[in-house]
Amino acid sequence: MKNFLKIKDLSISVEDKCIIKNLNLNINKGEVHALMGPNGCGKSTLSNVLAGKEGYNITNGKISFSGENLLKFSPDERANKGIFLAFQYPVEIPGVTNINFIKTALESNRQYNGLDPIKPGDFLKLIKEKSKLLGISDENLKRQLNVGFSGGEKKRNEALQLMMLEPSLAILDETDSGLDVDAFKIVADAVNSTRSKKNSMLIITHYQRLLERIQPDIVHVFINGSIIESGGPELAEEIDKNGYERFNNA
């Protein structure tokens, strides 16, 4: 599908401060886009707005997702329609186990989309298979969601949820931060394995290293709330080498 996600002339402000200015971005089905930019350029604002978080004032523009006006849907409707946000800072929910959280989320998704509940045996098999890929132990599945987890473990949990929920649009917000070298490879490769013609990804990062393992189709340079330049993977390499200076001066 062309223009699976279509952002047109989008402007967003928070408390009267303009964060995103006239943003245009089209992602077709099956494509992986990378959004690169320095800290404080509005990357997280964009991912929050796509996921429907409150507190942002959309002053102009439209977002359509799968042909529908995305902005009219609640966060949970958006999630159930296939938008998944891998959080930069996953929250802790005491008393709720990792595995129960994922099951609850999966059931909500399935129910919304008119599917029967997954059989407990099938669920268990699936989650064990996916967590093995990510190096998450059974013990960690039973732990309370993100409570006392290290930054790296939290990111693995996000990747696990992504793999279990199989979204049609995955937004990865700084998923590489907080991961050591080995964990980084594991998580990146696991996420990369979910790539297919049926789903798309928007990878938000300021380093190129994640893009070496999840190679994007298109790279956008995102500075001060606007896309300044778009290109192929070579653009990411250039940023890795020379930083954002050239774009800042542009």
Partner: protein, 482 residues
């Protein structure tokens, strides 16, 4: 346990109070009001022995001289004790032998509540002593329990069948003049449950009683007495729902537990009395006195409660740790919504040596409600090497609700250790957004987070109660955010 949340369905979020229906059954009323004649009327109705009538009358006379307590945080208009009925029984033509003789309408009520007695007999393995208004209408599993010598029957039946046990233990944990409401109950109690577990017997099933207020304007004065003889064990479950109505209903129950040497009693409650509507109109006034006596060495009493109902809750299930090495536990979840007022907690009185107590209290407040934990831990001079651990957590869902933690701690010897931890928190927007981003709607998200918050206590409930309790939590918090 961990898989229970997904059992919530849309059905759970529909009605403000899904058990708000009223069965039409002619009640056999005592005249309105309270005086000596009424006390005599009740005693007479139940064919009680003279000593019990005198016991009631003594309680009544003392009650007349007592003052309604006003030290708690709950506020309500003055109760007119003369404007209430003190006895109502479902009409019956003959003595009920089996469930087949029970009014079909009554059975229908139970079915609406999801308490199919007959099914429960063989499905759940739970013996149910169903209290409808004030008279027990059916007792199951009696025969099976009898084989082990376990007595589980209505209180009035016990008065007739086991007068010695009643006379020996009644009022020995909670004296008939203990407090205003206990005295009132002692004067006019109509029925309740009685349990006796003989020495060395582990009760083969969870014992369960469902309470239900049904006659308009009738006060409910239940009386429960559980005795666990030496080295015995019993787990007792109590759950309540009440139909919707406008006027306030007074409920003043008394529950006494006695654990002799080496005995253990586990007492679990799910309380869902009608809490009043979203404007604070109507609802049950719940003034309950519950106390357990760890009378023998090495005995143990454990209270677990999930409280979501009542306009007013005034309730402090307590343990008196008399025996050496005895232990008491209190696990509580108290939810308050709309204009509900909760003032609840526990008392742990350490008298014996090497006694221990543990208190885990989870308060959840939303709407305009107020939720107070009030707890006493008292370690007496002779109670050497005793320990207490207390944890009180409050979760607030709105800006207009309140939560208070009021601990009273008295430790009168230097060998004992008392610990108290307290937290209060709000459900954060980030937590809600995170859950919603994964596809849970707002109410499912709140329910998940609240259930997580209560997990330590929910785990203490027997399995079948845990599921019901989680359902109740969700229903009670409906529409509480946003």
């Amino acid at each position: 346990m961990s898989d229970n949340q997904e059992k919530l369905t849309d059905k759970d979020f529909k009605d403000p109070y899904e058990y708000g229906f009223e069965t039409e059954i002619d009640s056999d009323f005592a005249p309105k009001g309270l005086n000596e004649e009424i006390v005599k009327f009740i005693s007479n109705k139940k064919n009680e022995p003279k000593w019990l009538l005198e016991w009631r009358l003594a309680a009544y006379k003392k009650w007349l001289t007592m003052k309604e307590p006003n030290w708690s945080s709950v506020r309500y208009p003055a109760i007119d004790y003369q404007d209430s009925y003190y006895y109502a029984a479902p009409k019956k033509t003959e003595k009920i032998e089996s469930l087949d003789d029970v009014d079909p309408k009554l059975l229908e009520t139970y079915n609406k509540l999801g308490i199919p007695l007959k099914e429960q007999e063989w499905l759940a393995g739970v013996a149910v002593d169903a209290v409808f208004d004030s008279v027990s209408v059916g007792t199951t599993f009696k025969e099976k329990l009898k084989e082990d010598g376990v007595i589980f029957c209505s209180f009035s039946e016990a008065v007739v069948e086991y007068p010695d046990l009643i006379r020996k233990y009644l009022g020995t944990v909670i004296p008939r003049t203990d407090n205003y409401f206990a005295a009132l109950n002692s004067a006019v109690f109509s029925d309740g449950s009685f349990v006796y577990i003989p020495p060395g017997v582990k009760c083969p099933m969870e014992l369960s009683t469902y309470f239900r207020i049904n006659a308009a304007g009738t006060g409910q004065f239940e009386r429960t007495l559980v005795i666990a003889d030496k080295d015995s064990y019993v787990s007792y479950l109590e759950g309540c729902t009440a139909p919707m109505r406008d006027e306030h209903q007074l409920h003043a129950a008394v529950v006494e537990l006695v654990a002799l040497e080496g005995a253990e009693i586990k007492y679990s409650t799910v309380q869902n009395w009608y809490p009043g509507d979203e404007n604070g109109k109507g609802g049950v006034y719940n003034f309950v006195t519950k106390r357990g006596d760890c009378r023998g060495n090495n005995s143990k009493i454990s209270w677990t409660q999930v409280e979501t109902g009542s306009a007013i809750t005034w309730k402090y299930p307590s343990c008196v740790l008399k025996g050496d090495n005895s232990s008491g536990e209190f696990y509580s979840i108290a939810v308050s919504n709309n204009y509900q007022q909760v003032d609840s907690g526990t008392k742990m009185i350490h008298l014996g040596k090497n006694t221990s107590s543990r208190i885990i209290s989870k308060g959840i407040s939303t709407g305009n409600s107020s939720n107070t934990y009030r707890g006493l831990v008292s370690i007496h001079p002779k109670s050497k090497n005793s320990r207490n651990f207390t944890q009180c957590d409050s979760l607030l869902l709105t800006d207009s609700c309140s939560a208070n933690t009021i601990p009273y701690i008295q430790s009168k010897n230097i060998n004992s250790i008392v610990e108290h931890e307290a937290t209060s928190s709000k459900i954060s927007d980030d937590q809600l957004f995170y859950c919603r981003q994964r596809g849970l709607n707002e109410e499912e998200a709140v329910s998940l987070i609240v259930n997580g918050f209560c997990k330590d206590v929910l785990q203490k409930l027997p399995m079948e109660f845990a599921v019901e309790a989680q359902r109740l939590l969700s229903v009670s918090l409906e529409g509480s955010v946003g």
